[in-house]
Symmetry: C2
Amino acid sequence: MERKAPPRGFPVAEFENRTAKAQRLMADAGMDALLFCTEPEVRYFSGFLTPFWQSPTRPWFLIIPREGKPVAVIPTIGEETMRSTWVEDIRTWASPCPADEGVSLLSETLREIGGPVIGLPMGEESMIRMSLTDLERIRDKAGVTFTDSGSIVRACRFIKSDAEIEKITHICGIASDAFARVPDLVGEGMPLSEAFRAFRIELLRQGADDVPYLVGGAGQGGYGDVISPPTSRPLTAGDVLMFDTGATFDGYFCDFDRNFAIGDVDNAAQAAYRTLYAATDAALAIAKPGATCADLYTAMAGEIGDNGGGIGRLGHGLGIQLTELPSHTPTDTTVLRAGMVLTLEPSMSTGSGRMMVHEENIVITEDAPLLLTRRAAPEIPKV
Amino acid sequence: MERKAPPRGFPVAEFENRTAKAQRLMADAGMDALLFCTEPEVRYFSGFLTPFWQSPTRPWFLIIPREGKPVAVIPTIGEETMRSTWVEDIRTWASPCPADEGVSLLSETLREIGGPVIGLPMGEESMIRMSLTDLERIRDKAGVTFTDSGSIVRACRFIKSDAEIEKITHICGIASDAFARVPDLVGEGMPLSEAFRAFRIELLRQGADDVPYLVGGAGQGGYGDVISPPTSRPLTAGDVLMFDTGATFDGYFCDFDRNFAIGDVDNAAQAAYRTLYAATDAALAIAKPGATCADLYTAMAGEIGDNGGGIGRLGHGLGIQLTELPSHTPTDTTVLRAGMVLTLEPSMSTGSGRMMVHEENIVITEDAPLLLTRRAAPEIPKV
């Protein structure tokens, strides 16, 4: 089943470019250094890839100084993995050490290589993966002030490199092939939970490294909810079955779904499917540099009419994370540029508290967008 | 392959008990309400289980008032899933809405049902899964001060209920059966990455819902690192192969590893294996109420001698998260009590930058501890 996979990791030039761009932007913003403590940002600038972030015990820090390579301040357990990246200045402490969980070492490092104004993502979609008490201690000990660096991170991460697009394309291809196998994997009478299990295994068989995200639903003419774990209710004729997956290759996500008819589904479900297909087409037709996320929203919403699905947006960015900014909402006026990887995710009500969602993944080019997913069938496929 | 699984979810009494305990402790601590924004805590007190936390877009909030049930302040997309829990007071906003991402709704709710002193986990092993800027806005708008509630959360979560232990026992049994199949799944010449894939699929086949954590390594007489993703290096005679997995059932983790000899491994590796086995036995012999985590550390370290593995601790708590407090370190004097679920995880150097790690999962009882994992073989098993 294994297809030709792109190389893992990135050439050093990729990290040099990312870091140089961040350094230009932080200089413009008057920041002396950037501090990161979250997985996507630490990985983006260092290449440090591990599932160990699952454990909340230890904080991890990466600093981007005014010039030169990033500096890692991390627990000893990560030293060998960090040594395999392009980062050279790696400072470690023996963790867990609740009395001083990296606080002194990071404070000293910030004083030495930083300056008084430290950029830290503190706004939209950010989080602080460390103790708030320790963050305040570090601020005081290092004698720094934190200022929001979110717009710098976004400016870097919005535009994907060719190597990043290659990884996302690969995982989209894997998931497309796994979706193509669904009619062979599931059928009437199978509990939804077992259908999930079979599909998750198929994604791995097809070459996904991991399946951090798998949701879905099944119900007569639509599903009630798209974020709950599966129940053991058997698939029943007339059900619309949907899987939505964020599988990964080398730390990059796909994020799309497919709908299937279990036996014959009612006309309303078939019509909703066609409407959502048309909504995606409407967005594909205008997804070019210069258009905005709000334009994409308007194009899709125009097809859907008054029966929106209540998901709150009609797509978003995609890459290192399952969902990234921007968001296709009426108020997000982010201008599309070549190299942005986006989802198109129109949803609508199918009546009686049921809904349907479609999703495709695209990359913006100078010309028409490229579909990274194999386009859904124009009519709902029957299992 | 499916075995008899315990029921999913919990009876309402479980959430009543958890909440009542938190309310007693917060009253003692002079807090007017507890605020949570992180997955484990929101789930612990509400039962809200979804992989949707993968998306960083939306914050989620749960408040425990002085009396009565928790109150949820969440994005509309989660309303139906939250309605399936025991929580009744569910307040939603249409998200994403970067201009006011739940800030007004949460502030109003805190003013209405809270009080001036709000507990928030801010210390050891905590994180803030929301924008720091918005947290400060909420503090100002609601007119509250935040104080660390970490010790309250720990006091609740340290002791697992019978129903929780049943779930952890189930996933430990699934992973034990998957480990028993490893000699049939892998062999000399197989790339390590393919061995990982085969083992991950086997865990799912045996009944795991998901495998959020899988690390390991393979190398001559030991491995260099236990947190990197697998390379494509083929397994070679003389390698020690190790998988360490945190698989889940109904949101509860196992966390243990097993070592295998690919062909014949050198005497040093065999001796290290026996030493780690003996270290685990030493901890099992004293893991009773009244002993401390530091005692467990000392018992294991006494067997290992001067060749510790550099992981920083020799085990930890386990449950809703892959790793939970406490930690088996020389300085963690947490006293063991019946109902605590713990890992025993001795590690040691095998020379030349190589290491070996053993891990078992146990529950503390009034008498001897119960092994939740099927005990590793006393000699390294040969593939």
